[in-house]
């Protein structure tokens, strides 16, 4: 019998962690660390999107960072072209990116494993070229909205103008998205995905529309990436076309595996590894690229000893401790 922690207990832990990130973290972090944590939270959200597709369907999508870029592009575009409140632009960016994510699911109807991973990576490469060619909107004229020097300003939500408040805001949005994923996993979608992952034939025989459920997972994953991209646009105010190379998606995906693909905490760990660890190394005066060596070792560790990732190890350790007492 596997060790399991009660739902009640997990809920309490998640809530305490959430409250800590909303109220305590922004209050104690210094100016630079606020930016680091904000970006960590945003990429945790993006990582959840990638890990969702992997944990639920066993499919590898290596275009997640590109989708974050798409979300960011749409957000900046809407910011300068309209006077919509931040929240509406955020939703619109997420929805449009979700549609792009849905299109990425089309190859997944025919391919899986390495082939699908390669196709999504190629798509990420294509986006990288598009971003470089067209840049991100910064308030210029025309559809692309690019000017030599930024004449405009990326607005932040009414409630969260300062960096500290914006960190809380990002945590809240990320938490909402995590709850959305959780509800999917617990409901009809999660049941369908579980059957598909086990055997597509079995799923079909049970009346599961395999195509719809695969598209659904990619769309949700794209929605999360779009939200992350829009939040990133709000955090940095300007996006650089060089910030979304195809290779970064591989790194984020690998870190999502290291963190633990099947759990929200795994995505949080991925976000911390992706953004906080390099910053800490920098702080110690070390080269941030050292992080890559650490990540490589962590990935080996995860593949060899921890299929559920670090989150899985923490969970089973705490379940074990509770069962021992």
């Amino acid at each position: 019998m596997a060790l399991r922690i009660s739902f009640h207990r997990r809920f309490v832990t998640a809530t305490v962690f959430f409250l800590f990130c909303v109220f305590v973290l922004p209050a104690i972090a210094g100016a630079i660390w606020l930016k680091v944590f904000t970006s960590a939270v945003i990429f945790a959200l993006a990582a959840r999107g990638a890990s969702l597709v992997y944990a639920q369907l066993g499919l590898v999508n290596l275009a997640q960072i590109a989708l974050v870029g798409v979300g960011g592009w749409v957000m900046l575009r809407l910011n300068y072209a309209t006077t919509l409140p931040f929240e509406l632009s955020l939703l619109a960016s997420a929805a449009i990116t979700a549609i792009v994510g849905m299109l990425l699911s089309l190859p997944a109807m025919r391919m899986r494993g390495l082939y699908l991973a390669l196709v999504t990576l190629m798509a990420a490469g294509a986006f990288q070229i598009l971003f470089t060619a067209f840049q991100f909107p910064n308030g210029g004229s025309g559809f692309l909205g690019v000017a030599m020097q930024s004449p405009g300003e990326m607005r932040r939500p009414f409630l969260a103008r300062s960096d500290a408040a914006y960190l809380s805001y990002c945590v809240a949005v990320t938490a909402l998205c995590m709850v959305l994923v959780f509800l999917h996993e617990r409901g009809k979608a999660g049941r369908g995905w579980a059957l598909i992952r086990q055997s597509e034939a079995n799923a079909m025989a049970a009346g599961v529309d395999v195509t719809l459920f695969k598209v659904w997972a990619f769309t949700l994953s794209g929605f999360l990436a779009g939200t992350a991209g829009a939040l990133l646009a709000g955090a940095l105010r300007l996006l650089d076309s060089k910030s979304f190379p195809a290779g970064e998606s591989i790194l984020l995906f690998a870190l999502a595996i290291v963190g633990g693909a099947g759990h929200w905490a795994g995505a949080v760990i991925a976000g911390i590894l992706y953004r906080v660890v390099p910053a800490v190394l920098n702080d110690f005066g070390l080269d941030a690229d050292l992080a890559l060596i650490l990540f490589g070792a962590a990935l080996l560790h995860a593949i060899i000893t921890a299929p559920q990732g670090i989150a899985g190890q923490i969970l089973s350790a705490s379940a074990f401790r509770r069962s021992a007492t």
Partner: protein, 238 residues
């Protein structure tokens, strides 16, 4: 009434089913035959996993072959698989609930249907157990409960008795016999266990090398010389 007419399936040069024709109106029908006879292929044709080269399957006026596999399932054609594939992290309740996820009926009704199906296969007390913690007999019963939960019209069982012990096989016999009266579905049963076939099926289809070599009342079919020869692996001419 299931009307199978002239179904032919070819895998490359191999004729897996050679213009099979049968009209099925009994409650429980057996499908037997030696390994490679085409039993599972026939089930796959009915459930939509194999597209036949020729022929048609008509159920009460509906041409079944026009529907995709999941639409057949929603229409009321359930099937189990020879190989057990239970999603380890879903509970028994959720494994069964999947069969109802396409219905729009209220939750209370769904819960009641799940309760009834689990009760029928004897798994009520395991409702919240995870799939990964079930033994193979319990997994098999979960699969049968999932087949029954959406009040199907036809249930196809592909070797449900594989690997069961004596008492478990006994329970399975009762379950298969009672499906029509409790859920209203016709059952097509593939199994190698002749005792199970004899105890549950009023009529039996015998396949050999893709050909239907006998179809009739189970006892008559089992006494048939050709059938015995096929099972003993001898050609009818020898």
């Amino acid at each position: 009434m299931i009307r199978i007419s002239d179904i032919t399936v070819r895998f490359g040069g191999v004729v897996a089913l050679d213009s099979i024709t049968a009209e099925i109106s009994d409650d429980v029908i057996g499908i037997i035959g030696p390994n490679g006879a085409g039993k599972t292929t026939l089930i796959n044709v009915l459930s939509g996993f194999v597209r036949p080269e020729a022929g048609s399957v008509d159920v009460d006026g509906l041409n079944l072959l026009t529907l995709t596999p999941f639409r057949r399932a929603r229409w009321g054609l359930s099937r189990s698989f020879q190989k057990l594939q239970t999603a380890a992290e879903l509970s028994v309740e959720n494994l069964v609930r999947v069969g109802l996820d396409h219905c729009s009926s209220p939750n209370a009704e769904k819960d009641a249907a799940i309760g009834r199906a689990l009760e029928f296969v004897g798994l009520s007390r395991l409702r919240n157990t995870k799939g990964g913690d079930l033994n193979s007999q319990q997994q098999r019963m979960t699969e049968i409960a999932r087949c029954l939960v959406n009040s199907p019209r036809i249930v196809l069982l592909d070797e449900p008795g594989g690997g069961l012990g004596e008492t478990e096989a006994e329970a399975l016999r009762t379950i298969i016999t009672d499906i029509r009266s409790s859920f209203g579905a016709q059952v097509l049963l593939i199994d190698h266990d002749v005792d199970l076939i004899r105890a549950t099926c009023s009529k039996t289809i015998v396949l050999d090398f893709g050909k239907l070599i006998a179809f009739g009342p189970t006892e008559t079919v089992l006494r048939d010389k050709m059938v015995q020869a096929a099972y003993l692996g001898q050609g009818p001419g020898q």
